[in-house]
């Protein structure tokens, strides 16, 4: 099982690649809505990418209020 730091790093790389944002511009505590410039439909895309990549289920309601990569990583880590 990956460590929490590895999970976080994978999320940052995945988000950067999917939304074509330079990886070095993303930090763990960034607001991903702002940094990635994504709307609600693109947020669903990110959720699906993450579920497929980590092979986990992330119920939408667990992500309510989550806006930074670190907290998101914690939610995923809890389901690995």
């Amino acid at each position: 099982m990956p460590t929490a730091e590895q999970t976080l790093d994978e999320i940052l790389s995945l988000a950067a690649a999917h939304f074509k944002v330079p990886r070095e511009k993303l930090s763990p505590d960034d607001d991903f809505f702002k940094m990635l410039g994504i709307d609600s439909l693109q947020t669903l895309d990110l959720l699906t990418k993450l579920e497929n990549h980590f092979r986990v289920e992330l119920p939408d309601y667990e992500l309510q209020g989550v806006s930074d990569f670190r907290t998101l990583a914690g939610k995923i880590q809890a389901r690995l």
């Binding site: 609600s40 947020t43 119920p59 309601y61 309510q64």
Partner: protein, 267 residues
């Protein structure tokens, strides 16, 4: 009419396969325009069926297959009308979409929904009338209606119940959460999951294969295995319309329409 090019959708018939393409921005929300064109399609089906063995429904819009009913139109129109008139208008709309979906559901063709991205609410209900759902791995399925104080109104519950175990139906309906394609396949909702951008290609390949079978036999098999739950569908219309008259719905629609939240689909 073997071809049609509308504002919300288009269709063409080639080599025995009817392709119905949805292309209304942003994500094929079903409002009055889409309904009118879907009714045109339903009317044309009798003629199309004479030369076809399969129907593929897909979306040309990047965000997904269909985000469901056009809630902005529904809210705006209901605000412009007196309450009783709004309720009558909603019942009329729902009955019309049911007629279209029942027609596609009962078509003597093998029908395939090739879905990607957002397949929510009425979009999932449209996919559920099809015999097979082929999902791109980025597809997401959801019935978010409870968040608006409603239940799915385009036949979703009876058709989902026809296809899946009641526990899965309750999970989708009562939590309002979305499923990805893998989960949808595990639950029995999607028959195939394919790579990103490959759903239409896979649906065409499947539709070509179906052309090898005797049409009469395929029609008999379909009518045997896929009964249409007309009584439950009628009951759903009544329940939907009863709920639509509740104040919670207006508040829910207002919240959705006016939301600037990045995640308005969350409860």
């Amino acid at each position: 009419m073997n071809q049609f090019q509308g504002q919300a959708l288009s269709w063409k018939l080639e080599q025995g396969i009817i392709e119905l393409a949805l292309h209304r921005a942003p994500c094929n929300e079903i409002g009055s325009l889409s309904l009118e064109e879907l009714e045109k399609f339903a009317s044309a089906l009798s003629e199309l069926e004479q030369s076809a063995h399969a129907l593929v429904i897909h979306s040309e819009m990047k965000p997904g297959f269909c985000a469901g009913a056009d809630l902005r139109e529904l809210y705006t129109r209901s605000q412009q009308m007196e309450k009783n008139a709004a309720q009558t208008g909603v019942r009329d709309f729902v009955q019309r979409i049911h007629r279209v979906l029942n027609r596609i559901d009962s078509a003597p063709l093998t029908t395939i929904a090739a879905v990607h991205g957002v397949t929510f609410g009425g979009g999932l209900e449209l996919a559920l009338v099809c015999d097979l759902i082929i999902a791109d791995k980025m597809a997401r399925f959801c019935f978010p209606e409870l968040r608006l104080g409603l239940i799915p109104g385009f036949g979703g519950i009876p058709r989902l119940k026809r296809d899946l175990g009641n526990a899965v139906v309750r999970d989708l309906l009562l939590t309002g959460r979305s499923f990805n394609a893998t989960k949808a396949q595990q639950a029995g909702l999607a028959s195939q999951v394919v790579s990103e951008g490959e759903a239409l290609r896979a649906a065409r390949a499947t539709a070509s294969q179906l052309g090898k079978f005797d049409r009469h036999t395929a029609k008999v098999a379909k009518s045997f295995i896929k009964p249409i739950p007309y009584d439950e569908l009628e009951r759903e219309i009544d329940l939907f319309c009863e709920l639509f008259s509740e104040p919670a719905v207006e508040a829910g629609l207002k919240k959705f329409v006016e939301s600037t939240d990045a995640q308005p689909y969350l409860p």
